[in-house]
Symmetry: C2
């Protein structure tokens, strides 16, 4: 009754992840690989939606998602935006989303078990995955169906996950600045050790290495790291801005806004690109890498409808370019213009 993602992978001689990327994120694949996978999809008549209908037996499915009990920070808006996209798309599939809070990862697992036993929710989404995450093993042990938004920062897991390719986003931002003629593009990131923060620096570093020939020490000299607070970022980026960088790529919009503030205080004007495309980027008006949360939400719902572990997918984020930067950025120095 319909073939699976694994059938397609075996037919094409590629990994399940490659099939998933071919369907959802074709730009990641070589043209020849893409064509081979799509030929297998066609040959086997694979359909994720057909499979979804088969698995759900027409019952109402409700997805449980943990959210923070209270929030007033900038970064949380990314998961809020994701929740809106997920809910709208779940509704369109006749599925529901129930939100809940938890005090810790262990508490989250307890609440997931409770929601499942009360039949309030039958499938779950883990967000904000991190190193030494105990939630996925616990839910696998409990036999509860789930998908993670966030790659596993550890051994290869037995569950499906969808994440955003942060390195691809900072690479696009860096290349846009280099294409616009900037040479000393600095990086503002988080302290070493956060998986997604290190990933975002990696994209910037690889683009800079390829295009400018700078080595590791050179790149470290134009990197600063601080906590994800705008006010900390003003202080942390000041020395960088007093130096010879001519543009900045940042791991978040809070860091980018802080860097813009530091530039204003120093009487300088240079293009700054943020990450997450939050209301701060829209409000102040600077370019930012958008995590494509709508695409993530679609992929998560497909993964929940699919076989456990079948989907391991990186969604490519998109640089949102803003030319109209009113604060502190001179009209003739606005960074990358729309191509």
């Amino acid at each position: 009754m319909g073939s699976t993602l694994a059938d397609v992978a075996a037919h094409a001689g590629v990994s399940v992840q490659t099939v998933s990327n071919a369907l959802n994120n074709p730009a990641l694949l070589k043209q020849t690989t893409l064509e081979r996978v799509l030929a297998s999809v066609a040959a086997l008549g694979y359909s994720p939606n057909l499979q979804a209908k088969r698995l759900r037996h027409g019952t109402v499915s409700t997805i449980g998602v943990r959210i923070e009990p209270a929030t007033d920070n900038i970064a949380s808006s990314l998961l809020d935006r994701f929740l809106h996209e997920l809910t709208g798309r779940a509704d369109a599939r006749g599925q529901h989303v129930v939100v809940f809070t938890a005090e810790s990862d262990d508490d989250e697992v307890r609440r997931v078990r409770s929601l499942a036993s009360q039949r309030v929710a039958d499938r779950f989404l883990l967000t904000s995955t991190h190193a030494d995450d105990t939630r996925a093993p616990a839910l696998l042990d409990a036999g509860l169906p789930f998908v993670a938004f966030g790659r596993p920062w550890g051994p290869a897991p037995a569950h499906s996950w969808v994440d955003v390719d942060g390195a691809a986003g900072t690479r696009e931002a860096t290349e846009a600045l280099l294409d616009a003629g900037h040479r000393r593009v600095g990086f503002v990131g988080w302290p070493i050790g956060s998986g997604s923060g290190d990933d975002r620096r990696r994209g910037w570093a690889s683009a800079m290495q390829e295009r400018t020939g700078l080595g590791d020490d050179d790149l470290e000299a134009i990197t600063v790291r601080c906590t994800d607070l705008l006010s900390d970022a003003v202080d942390a980026t000041a020395p960088l801005i007093a130096g010879d960088v001519d543009a900045l790529v940042c791991a978040s919009d809070a860091l980018a806004a802080g860097a813009i503030g530091a530039a204003m205080e120093a009487g300088r004007s240079l293009p700054v690109i943020g990450f997450d495309n939050t209301a701060l980027a829209l409000g102040i008006g600077f370019s930012s890498v958008d995590q494509s949360v709508g695409q993530v939400a679609d992929a998560v719902l497909d993964a929940l409808d699919g076989e456990p572990g079948a989907v391991t997918m990186l969604v490519t984020p998109q640089l949102v370019r803003r030319q109209h930067v009113r604060w502190g950025i001179a009209p003739n120095d606005r960074g990358p213009s729309p191509s």
Copy 2:
């Protein structure tokens, strides 16, 4: 089995709303009234929680809340913050929150009926109430229990509602600026006709009239109105900032951020107070009126547990004062200092 809010009101010789305010928002009442109501509460042994338990018969209750299908604007973060507070508090009461999207008010009513008939949710919360709102009458007709976050901008309704006293918030902001020695405090608001926008201007206007003796025409001369976009607010406030206002109260943080941008472009520095206390106010660093969404969430959950129509309550928002304004505001001109 326990007395009701109406019993307490009859005992104390006051309205049900007054009892509700005495329990949830005592600062709104005269001391003598407050003491009389609390004496009746004690005499009758009234307990909202007891009543809640009685009404819910020990079953798991799930509250349905509509959210937007997608969002990238600044104002939406207020409802997101509210959702976090509501979910955390509902969890603590052993209740659940299910979110859904709708294309229109009529579609929301259809979805509420469907969620109720599928037993996915058994109680509902209406948000963003507006003039000629057809949702409340439709849900009353359908016999579905609900509470509104937002006052009815029309005839007195038969359902419970909780709203934030916007006028009290802008009044506090205006008085803080007047106390700090400012005299020409201008107002930046939305086009006439939005209930909450007109309400917020009213609080500013009444404080200005009482304290400075300015008449309606004078106040109109230091008012500007525009859509809730930061970039529109930069343009709209420029003429005001070119004039003789020495401080501004704004109907939203987006407007406040725009006014700060306009002041920077004009090379001026003046205190600006926003509304909603969003990430923008925290990030840029300006004072803002906080809607006390945690208190609203508590009141909404009490109202859902109570008798239909028993709660009609205005929560008083709080001015969050920020001294550390880095961008464009000189250290000696930071507006109200913490009292």
